[in-house]
Symmetry: C2
Amino acid sequence: MPDLTQEQIAELSRVSQATVSRVLRGDPRVNEELRQRVLEVIRQHGYVPDARAQSLRSQRTGTLGLVVHRSPKQLARDPFFSALIAAIIEFAGEGGYHLCVDAARAVQSRRAIYEDLLRTRRVDGLILVEPQTRDERMPRLLEEGFPFVLIGRYEPIDAVYSVDNDNIGAGYMATQHLLGKGHRRIAYISGLRGIFVCEDRGQGYRRALEEAGLAYAPELVAWGDFSEAHGYRSMSRLLGLPDPPTAVVAVDDVVAIGALRAAKEHGVAIPQQVAVIGFNDSPFCQYVEPPLSSVAVDIRALAHLATQVLIDLIEEREVSQRRHIVPCHLVERAST
Amino acid sequence: MPDLTQEQIAELSRVSQATVSRVLRGDPRVNEELRQRVLEVIRQHGYVPDARAQSLRSQRTGTLGLVVHRSPKQLARDPFFSALIAAIIEFAGEGGYHLCVDAARAVQSRRAIYEDLLRTRRVDGLILVEPQTRDERMPRLLEEGFPFVLIGRYEPIDAVYSVDNDNIGAGYMATQHLLGKGHRRIAYISGLRGIFVCEDRGQGYRRALEEAGLAYAPELVAWGDFSEAHGYRSMSRLLGLPDPPTAVVAVDDVVAIGALRAAKEHGVAIPQQVAVIGFNDSPFCQYVEPPLSSVAVDIRALAHLATQVLIDLIEEREVSQRRHIVPCHLVERAST
DNA sequence: TTCATATACGTATACGTATTCACAGCATTG
DNA sequence: CAATGCTGTGAATACGTATACGTATATGAA
């Protein structure tokens, strides 16, 4: 079946190309008889309009861009990102948009993506996942008036639309949970200093402690990366303390897994001697031994909000608020 | 910074729009002095060509389409797909293409995707992941002469370009591994009947047994779905046999996890009394107790081949073969 | 000098669609 | 009955780029 144009459909229907276009766009000012004739020809020939021409003419591509600040390898490994991407695909589709995905960690390729997707008008808007604290593109994007939404936080400019987890609340909730189980000496195995997620969850942890009348003890807080090895090392150190913790909040499930391993190797019973809780409710939480309690972030809500806000911006609808905070919830398993 | 066109760049450089286009396309037939002048103006104004106009004119979009036959929810859950998507993003980028991703399980939306991506010329080519055995789109795609590549198998028509795991080899390898450990009574917990992956791995399993002079015993093969629950149930049944297996090949890591759980609950030691091996080498394999041996499929190779073949088809280069088979390798851990 | 050839550039056009404009036909109004 | 508005339609145009084509200048050979 060769590619037809409106021109040819018009000829076959004995109308003008303009009328074909009007029929396709559902313009009411077209005679019913003609409309039927044109629709019949379109149906018979299986005509579908050319998206490229439509884009050029209408200045709309019907495509959203998704840029993730992770190397493809990291992306493949972390279930959080894959779930996020999958959900964004879904919601973009529901909103009538396609999705163009790019991933890049290097600054150089980040610039390229910026040029390639945005300036070329290849997409109508952008979702940026976890931008850096200082991201030189933010001001430029704002300046261009290009529609974009952040998943994560970006403090410097509050004109930015963003959707984020309630990480402070999540840290608070995890700690609260352990306090409720009677624990009084609770450690926090964090990630990198200066990363919003880690700082925020730590802040929630601290607030829960203080509300319970407990002092924040720096020796019970471990900084490192997001690896299983970091969880293992930190837990080993904590267990060696003169007055070891009876419960541990780990900044991420993978880190928590490392902590679990260390505890088991030290012959410490979980959750009897040490309780452990992680974040993200990764799929593997239910498979590890013992199954890991975790604070689940609502990835679908995150994706839904981000997509919806972006589409509203593109279609120039009113957007009620610039910052959205998505609440988390606790999934209790055997490790606490 | 407002959007410029070649027209305006031309005016600023005191040349024609055609010359600007030639400079941008690297046409050699343009005076060096002029070229520099134009490039300077382009640089100063940060001009980037409009991809939509380029697409319309050149009949190329510079975008690949990826269609996955899974609901977004399944997609989010299965690490295999997320890794695959991540790798395809990477290789498409390296090949100078963007990636447009869609996912859909329903037949209805499948048709829509077909119309939306292909007939609208929104993408230059398509990667289809695990199409159904009878997929009505294959003949149509072939008929249109539209470039596309399958990840998975499609038997009916061999004019189709495809890239697939060596699933037979993988099943053979897993079984071989267990035979090498001295096991003589080996079970196979499969997935759905009629799914290529399950049948093929089963075929490899069977061949390994027969080469070792062992009979294929139907009571040692369990059919079901891809769930953890199926693994659990099947393992429970197998352990209740008068002559239970000493080793189990599970069609998927998640199924294997279920089997592990059943064994533990029955007080059966792993790997001393029953060895277990899975497929895919999912990230969680190293976190479970005991860590799970698994046959790793080379996802990056799969993605790389598919992307490369597709790009070659689009750019009308010679493609050496229609079917590519990617070998697997075994990752041994404590469960065997 | 004269013609052929190559080179470097501009003019014009096409890609397929959406939309503005103009106009014909008809109904409605004072 | 003239003036006015409304409806449905086609002609023309614009979106921004790439390229076929034509032409002016430079270069070389006769």
